[in-house]
Structure formats: structure tokens, C-alpha cells
Symmetry: C2
């Protein structure tokens, strides 16, 4: 399997997700049009779609159809998009730039950003529930609960709360890891499991190694994010660079230094690959994605 | 069936819901504790639980267990609570008082209010999906989709967006009705249908009359709310009185006058009762609730 083959697969899924999301989001011509317009603005036109890629990659093990994986991946990307809209708001990170464009509350207004985020979260659960995605509907209900657990106060939203409380604090490496396992890790981990559970679902014995892979890739993603934030410029990132340091946020770079953080990312990649080493060739996209996450430039 | 019997049933459900919600909300001792504390603060200790009452009343027709109705009612009350937390925020209605207590962003801070609202919404979908609530899991997936549709951009959140756009505008009675059918009506309507679909589910031929009843009761609830806002004081309401007029919001009272708005509420009650007239005695709680909604004092 060549690197070109992976890159082709990756851009295929990315383009594909753009169409799938565009089809699922309410048409801007439907009332309330300004809200629907803001929802589309928040979701479409960019994003690396890392969670959708992980879900599709894990879906290679589940015998799910592309349509089923697309819907589940849309649900995860809608949750991710809602969290970005709310995180960027003035009472949170107060950021003005995202994916190279003004953030939603800057382009529209704060109330519209709040409601657009709210409605994107709701749409995620609608998308995950309204069409059959699994051989058994009981499995699909478990997927709804899994996404909720990963996104809520004991997952992503909880991680965001821990992050806010940590601003300006001295925290330990264990505390930083705990925060990231929730803030970014939980949804990434859920993306892998959701892909593996679509359709007929993978061999249940693979769920534990896949979950371990997801946990490691979630941390890996965050470590690389911290490294990129510290060393890149705003134009490359498409979002405000160096903002962690400006906002006095603890990061892997502020805690370990740039070179140790880079080393950590390579160790995590090694562990993530080891976690799925016993799996057959159908796990190759997951292997390639983990490497891609370490070597990405933005 | 005496009025006393109804009042006993009503306070029974209200007390019952308080315990059910307290058991479902994350313990404040679990990290992140401030977020969990804010979520409990937003949900517990009051509220009329009108949506839970409607769901339990409709549940009399579905053969569902009290435990099943409780869980579905918790989901609806969590959605309602999240919407209040976000609606009260400075970028929306900017209100400081709710159920006689400081609003969440006043008691905590804006970021915590934003995240608590987000996590309450997520919890609603978790609660609706993670335990069996229906004889068939396919029906339960449809209930998840139904709640999402009623809460999202084409339901409650959409109604809120229309409401914000209407501040200071001259709007017609049709536009006002369209707004309320979304903002308050959609979730009330969904509460009736969710109750009717729990357990074995009611006779499918009853879904259309129940839905019509839910639509009328949703409007009725809003008309009475507008009347109470115009004529009550803050201490009685437990929330800031007269704020519709202060904020220059169109209401049934501003559009029709107080006496015509009261007359409208009685007409809507009559229509709601007519919608479920063909149903047997198991619909009596729904009949009593509609009358209660018209005659409530806060």
C-alpha cells in the first residue's frame, strides 16, 4: 500500500464528507435562514475531518456500507463543529479566526453562534438515530449513548471545563493528560468505536484494542496540536497561532519543552501501532492515519 | 375523578421527577465538579415540570412502566433546562432571575453556563438511548430522532432564533404563532408523543389526535405565559416579570390586548379538549392538564 494510495483515500473521504455534510445540514433557504446559514458556515468549507477519517478507517473492519459510515461520520463532525463554535465564543477562548475565516460569532453575532452550536449538537443525534446504521437497532441505540457519553460532561464538554479551570495554573503532566483525554480524546476515541460498530460491527474481541488505539491517537493528536501551535504561524494553521502561550494555557510544549513533546508524539505513535498490531490488513488505514497525524503540518 | 385527585397526581409526578432527575444528573463530587454542580443547579429545585407531566399523562395510553416514562420525561426536562440556561445568557435574553434564584451565568460564570447547557443537552440524548424504553428498539430510535427534530433548528432552537430576530419588530399574529409553535410548542408537542410512544406504544391511530392536542396545548401554554408575564409580579413568577414589554418583544398581549389574549387561551383549551374527545378515560390526565395550564397562576 503506497503513500499515494493513502493520500488519495484521505482526500476522497474529505471531499466526500463535504458533500455528505452539505446534504445533511438544513438548506439556508429554510426558516430561520440566518441560523441555518450560520450552521452551514460553521461546518462546511474546510477542516481536516480527522474524526471522520478515523471513523471511516475503523469502518473497514465492520462491513458497514459507505452510506452508513458517512452518516455516523457526519454525526461526529457535527459534534466537533458545535464544540468549536462554542469554544471560540468571547466567554470561552474568545477567538476570531478558525479555518482561515472569521469565527461564527464574529461573522454573525454571539446569539446566533450560541444557537448554531446548540442546533449542530442536536442535529448530530438526529443524524445518528434517524436512519438504520447497524444490523441490529439495539447496537445503534448503544452508538447514540456512546456518542453522548463521549461528548458530555464526562467527556468533551467536561474536558473543556477542566481546560478553562487550568488557565494560569501550574498543573502536572497527569492533570494535563486527564484534561486532554476528555477534551479532544473522548470524541476521537468514540469516532474509532463508532466506525467499528456500524453495519454488522467488527469482531467484538477487536473493540478493546481499537479503543486503546483510539485513546492513544487522541493524546497523540493533542500533543501534535500543541507542537504545531508553538511553532507555526497563523496563516499556516488557519487559526490564531501561539494562542496557548498568549492565554497562559498549560500545553505539552509548556510542560515538557518542544523537543520532548515531539519525542512524546513519536512514542505515542509507536504505542498506537502496537495496540492494533494483531489486527489484519483491514486495519491498515488506521495505521496510516496515526502516522499522518504525527507528520501533519497543520 | 375529582380536582383533588388530579392535584395529588400532579404533585406526585413533580416530586417524583425531582428524584429521577437528581439520580440521572452526574454527582457533584465527580470531576469536573463545578460543571456538574452547575448542571444540578440548573435542573433541580423547582420548575413546573409541565413537559414531564404531559409525557406522563400521555403515557397512560401507552402501557409504559413508570420507570420508562420517568426516563423519557427526564430527557425532555433536560432539554428544557438547557434551553433556559442558554436563553438567560447575556448574549440572549440577559436575565438574572429564574425560578426565584440567580440564573446559572450569574451564580457561576458565562463559560460554565455555556458548558452546563451544552452538557445538559447531551445528557438528554444519553438518557433517552441508554436503557430500553420501548418494546421495540426501532421505536426508541425514532423517539431519539423525534426529540432531536423538536429541539433543533427546525424546532425549539429555531424558534429562539426567530424570537431574537423579532425583537423591536412589528410582526403579524401568524408570524407570532409560527415563532411559538417552534420555540415552546415543538418540545411540548414532542413530550406528548414521546409519552404515547414509550412501552408498547399507544394505538397508532391515536397519534394524530394526540399530536393535534400537543400543538394546541403548546400554543395555549405560551398565550397563558404572555398573560402572566403582563399581569404578575416578579415574586409570584420567580422570574423577571414584565420583561417582554421591557425588551420590546412581541407577545399575544402586545398584539391582541390582555382580554383578547385571555379569550384566546380559553378557545385553545376548548379546541385541545375537542382534539382528544374521541379518546377513552385513559386520556383524562391530558384533559385535566390542559385545564390546569389555563388556570395556573405562575
Amino acid at each position: 500500500m503506497s503513500a499515494n494510495d493513502f493520500l488519495e483515500w484521505k482526500s476522497g473521504i474529505q471531499q466526500h464528507m463535504e458533500s455528505a455534510l452539505a446534504a445533511i445540514l438544513p438548506d439556508p433557504g429554510i426558516a430561520p435562514d440566518r441560523l441555518h446559514d450560520a450552521m452551514r458556515y460553521a461546518v462546511l468549507g474546510g477542516g481536516k475531518r480527522v474524526r471522520a477519517l478515523l471513523l471511516h478507517a475503523a469502518g473497514q473492519l465492520s462491513g458497514a456500507s459507505v452510506t452508513q459510515l458517512d452518516r455516523a461520520a457526519c454525526a461526529v463532525e457535527l459534534i466537533h463543529a458545535y464544540s468549536l463554535v462554542h469554544d471560540d465564543m468571547p466567554c470561552m477562548d474568545n477567538d476570531v479566526l478558525r479555518r482561515g475565516k472569521p469565527t461564527v460569532h464574529v461573522e454573525y453575532d454571539e446569539a446566533t453562534a450560541l444557537l448554531a452550536g446548540d442546533a449542530l449538537q442536536t442535529l448530530a443525534f438526529q443524524v445518528l438515530a434517524e436512519q438504520p446504521l447497524t444490523a441490529s437497532p439495539v447496537d445503534q441505540l448503544e452508538m447514540v449513548a456512546l456518542l453522548a457519553l463521549a461528548s458530555g460532561s464526562r467527556g468533551m464538554a467536561g474536558g473543556q471545563a477542566i481546560d478553562l479551570a487550568a488557565v494560569g495554573q501550574q498543573i502536572s503532566r497527569e492533570e494535563l493528560e486527564f484534561m486532554h483525554l476528555h477534551k479532544t480524546g473522548a470524541l476521537i476515541r468514540a469516532s474509532v468505536l463508532l466506525g467499528a460498530r456500524c453495519g454488522r460491527g467488527c469482531d467484538p474481541r477487536l473493540l478493546a484494542p481499537l479503543d486503546h488505539y483510539g485513546k492513544l491517537v487522541g493524546l497523540l493528536f493533542q500533543v501534535v496540536d500543541d507542537v504545531l501551535d508553538a511553532q507555526s504561524d497563523t496563516a499556516t494553521l488557519g487559526k490564531t497561532a501561539g494562542k496557548d502561550a498568549d492565554q497562559d494555557k498549560p500545553t505539552y510544549v509548556s510542560l515538557l519543552g518542544l523537543s520532548a513533546a515531539r519525542e512524546l508524539s513519536h512514542n505515542l505513535l509507536h504505542e498506537a501501532l502496537a495496540a492494533i498490531a494483531p489486527l489484519d490488513d483491514r486495519a491498515n488505514r488506521l495505521r496510516e492515519l496515526a502516522s499522518y497525524i504525527v507528520h501533519r503540518k497543520f
